[in-house]
Symmetry: C2
Subunit: 307 residues, 2 copies
């Protein structure tokens, strides 16, 4: 790591994973300490059958799909990917502090709209799912949007025990299926990614299908569209999509060798605590609270699987 | 406004300011209805003596300073601006989902560091201020980070009545003064802007000096630095700052003719409610809650002042 610049007044120490001072009372670990102490079992590889590679000229964005929350949409997206539906389409919208969105810019023109192939044109809305049967690691922190928040199936999520429902939350990196007015008007041909302040008001109002695990910076920097809602006004402004590929269909040597921290372990609980109450000396006032969408889920490079 | 594309499955209606359907029960207004019904007295012009123009090659970023929260830092920043301290400096850091930051990249080198002129090198920390004497429009919504949240002096803010303290909150667009380890190690020569998910853990740990009122998209798209914490590794990667100017020093004809919605009126209360409980038909499940950092503070163009 490049040397720190101690005399440079930086908003640095707040986010630099540093060890706590040696003489600090043992009142809690820093995130780096938690990471350093983690075991292989605290990490998981992505399922190549549910991992997408969004291939842009600038590089790859890795998306983990969440069939636990949207089985029908995820299946349809996989069908679209197999049929190379998205290849050659474009990112048509970049809306500051909100989302980027891609799909077929010609979808409204029957003469030019890309056929869906074997994918379904119509799917049921999958805005929530039964809480029953969903392993849910709850955060103790209060949340104004839902009775309970936490992590489930790799996604930041929320739960209403009285209603018996759970749903994925709209945090930075959440991927969802764009829809029109009718609840059942999404089918996965339009996808968006949250690139701004968590729009939790969308929870329970739209189908979420997964999250970006790596490569967010390739989306968050996209020039903002000057049209309404951040749509690009001219075709040449859109960002071309070379392809969306299923990791399982990509030769092993071309796959991202990464693993994600599990969210159902004591290590993850310790990591969240290290962010809830910062032990870095820089912090004078640890917050004692963390919002769901401020919880990081670490990703790290790993060596190729030997199995 | 360009025509909508109704057949295009878009995550559009959620954010398009549309009138509610004519036959909808009168259960609350949409944001557009609130805006349309607003009176001139619901809006305010910025104080040119406390408004900065950050001039980049890509255009202007308008910053409203908040002397109510950081009088010493704001005064020092005004001194730096008068001395043209920032002119020709650069944005040295763009950290995905966190901040951009600017200042003197050579500040550590005594031979190259830019002199502060008449500005103070050392200031007291201004992390909080007394709640007394600060007009505070409280939001009824729960917040996990502070006992009370709302708006004060044009800033999203928080308050602890028991402790008798108030502070500005770190939302998208908040501007703060970078510091090192010691609490009193900021002086305004390093400034940052929140470009990602609200880092509320920074509240009460650093001096906030204002907020970006217009032009955030010029900052949020800056390429992410590849060095630690998003610092640029090579000087040529930095974004040049042409100048930071005080609006009052700029000829009237060159000033931004904008006004900001006041945050202490029934109109603003109605606007927040229109976002807390969306009445657009697109929403099946209005949230019934809003986070402080999801509250928009509208800005609009206005005709030049006639006084």
């Amino acid at each position: 790591m490049a040397p720190m610049r101690p005399l440079l007044l930086v908003l640095a120490l707040a986010s630099l994973p540093c060890a706590a001072a040696d003489d600090a009372p043992p009142k809690g670990r820093t995130m780096q300490e938690v990471l350093d102490a983690s075991q292989p079992s605290d990490w998981r590889r992505l399922d190549p059958e549910h991992t997408l590679y969004l291939e842009l000229d600038s590089g790859r964005v890795v998306i983990e799909l969440a069939p636990a929350f949207a089985p029908r949409h995820v299946a349809n997206i996989l069908t679209l990917v197999r049929g190379k539906y998205y290849d050659g389409l474009s990112i048509n919208r970049s809306h500051d502090n909100f989302v980027v969105q891609w799909g077929d810019a010609e979808a409204e023109d029957p003469k030019k709209a890309r056929p869906l192939g074997e994918a379904a044109a119509k799917l049921p809305a999958e805005f929530t799912r039964p809480a029953q049967g969903l392993a849910f690691t709850r955060l103790p922190d209060v949340d104004g949007w839902a009775p309970q928040v936490g992590f489930a199936a790799g996604m930041p999520a929320a739960r209403d025990p009285e209603a018996g429902l759970a749903w994925a939350a709209h945090c930075y990196g959440t991927v969802g299926a764009g829809r029109g007015g009718p609840p059942d008007s999404s089918n996965g041909t339009e996808l968006y990614v949250v690139t701004g302040q968590s729009p939790r008001q969308l929870d329970r109002n739209i189908t979420t299908v997964g999250r970006v695990v790596q490569g967010m910076e390739r989306l968050s920097v996209l020039p903002r569209g000057t049209g309404p809602l951040g749509f690009y006004e001219k075709p040449e402004q859109r960002t071309p999509i070379r392809a969306i590929r299923l990791a399982a269909s990509v030769p092993e040597a071309e796959r991202e060798q990464i693993e994600v921290m599990r969210t159902d372990t004591p290590t993850f609980e310790a990591l969240v605590e290290s962010r809830r109450n910062r032990r870095d000396d820089w912090y004078l006032h640890p917050a004692g609270h963390i919002d769901l969408c401020n919880v990081p889920v670490p990703v790290r490079a790993t060596t190729p699987a030997k199995d």
